[in-house]
């Protein structure tokens, strides 16, 4: 029924942040890990149900709802997901989709990885050099790279994700034109490079220059936005494991990108997924490569630290 929808839309502001946590008493108090983001709460936002409260019948329902929310306190009021409870999207999938990801010859993402290998060894641009001419065998040189991106690029003075890093190498070293976002070639190269980190845990380098960006990404993650007035955190921190219509809500970790989404019938980047979510929230969708998307990518990688890379993953 729609109790879950209500908790998504109304519960958080009605609860007013952490106060109920102590009133609930017995409920397990979830201790937040060290977060570079200032303490996040939804309390400051106005209640969206003012006029409805005039009806006493509704007040009864409201009390019931409040009780229900108190019962669910450990979930609906949970702030960040404790590290030990972090789960890849893989754990929320059905048996058939898992089997598809696990078997390289059934995983359509392999098609892009193999194309990426060809591109890696192909000479391009004015310098007529291939990626392999400088980086040699990707299986050793690119191992672990995807597990620590986005990263700060000193020469550019900004944060770059893996796709941007590939394009910088193309324009600077190969003197070749940058590849378009979501083009088959860029997805293939990204998938091939990220594939070399499969199984390795996400581990961002501790870099003073990226701390502000993690915080900014975290703020965006918690920011209510769009016509539905939702934040990423309301689904992916507070209601993961529940359902949105028939689909399970995962924790929203970026450990399988670029990944093959059955709905897309295509490989897609993390930015495509983020734009997809924002559009679903009826929020303004930043263009590909926008700094706020890269900050969000960085925050999500930080949030998913320790989870193994699954590229190329399969998702429904």
């Amino acid at each position: 029924m729609n109790a879950m929808r209500r908790s998504l839309l109304f519960a958080s502001p009605a609860c007013g942040g952490g106060r109920e946590r102590s009133e609930a008493g017995g409920g397990p108090c979830v201790k937040a890990p060290e977060y570079p983001v200032s303490s996040r709460k939804y309390g400051a936002l106005p209640l969206p149900h003012g006029e409805m409260e005039k009806s006493s019948a509704f007040r009864g329902a409201h009390t019931f709802l409040a009780l229900l929310i108190l019962c669910m306190a450990s979930r609906t009021l949970a702030a960040e997901i404790p590290l030990a409870e972090r789960k890849s999207g893989y754990d929320f999938m059905g048996r058939e989709t898992r089997a598809m990801q696990d078997d390289d010859t059934a995983n359509p993402g392999t098609l892009w990885v193999l194309d990426g290998e060809v591109l890696w060894n192909r000479a391009e641009g004015e310098t007529n050099k291939s990626c392999a001419d400088c980086h040699s065998d990707a299986r050793t040189s690119m191992k672990g790279i995807a597990a620590r991106y986005p990263a700060y690029d000193a020469a550019q003075g900004k944060l770059v994700d893996l796709e941007a890093r590939i394009n910088l190498s193309r324009t600077e070293h190969q003197k070749a034109p940058a590849l378009a976002f979501e083009s088959k070639a860029l997805l293939a190269l990204t998938a091939y490079i990220a594939r070399q980190s499969r199984g390795l845990p996400i581990e961002l380098k501790d870099d003073a220059r990226t701390r502000d960006a993690i915080a900014a990404g975290g703020k965006l993650f918690e920011q209510r936005q769009g016509q539905l007035n939702l934040s990423c955190a309301q689904c992916h921190d507070d209601n993961w494991g529940q359902k949105l219509a028939a689909a399970p809500i995962p924790q929203g970790h970026p450990n399988g990108y670029p990944l093959y989404r059955l709905e897309w019938q295509n490989l897609g980047s993390l930015q495509r997924r983020l734009r997809n979510c924002l559009s679903g929230m009826r929020a303004e969708v930043p263009p590909y490569g926008a700094p706020e998307l890269v900050e969000l990518e960085l925050f999500l990688m930080w949030r998913a630290r320790g989870l193994p890379i699954e590229t190329p993953a399969v998702r429904p």
Partner: protein, 106 residues
């Protein structure tokens, strides 16, 4: 040419039922979609898949617009003799792709 992935066991016992799995990259454009200026996107699909075992046809499938992109086709096949298992996909716009694998039957 389209990239295809074939999963056939390299060795099998005579009489054994093998799982044959094939995956090919193809858009499978239905012909029913319109682009962002309202123009119909022409159909571009694989129409037929045929598997032969030492030249003899052992499996055939007709594909239609409702089949998803990058079609994955799997079927069982009994190992009878050593030789070649060949695969052929044909479709719109003169699309044609072939792959073959060797198998040893003991």
């Amino acid at each position: 040419m389209a990239r295809a992935l074939i999963n056939v066991p390299p060795k099998a016992k005579k009489g054994e039922i093998m799982a044959i799995k094939t995956l090919i990259s193809h858009e499978m454009e239905t012909g029913y979609r319109i682009d962002n200026v309202g123009k119909q996107i022409p159909r571009d699909i694989i129409k037929e898949f045929v598997c032969t075992y030492n030249g003899q046809e052992v499996f055939r499938a007709e594909l239609h617009p409702a089949i998803a992109a990058n079609p994955f086709i799997a079927f069982p096949l009994m190992a009878t003799e050593s030789g070649t298992i060949a695969f052929k996909w044909t479709g719109d716009n003169g699309f044609s792709a072939t792959e073959s694998v060797q198998i040893t039957v003991e």
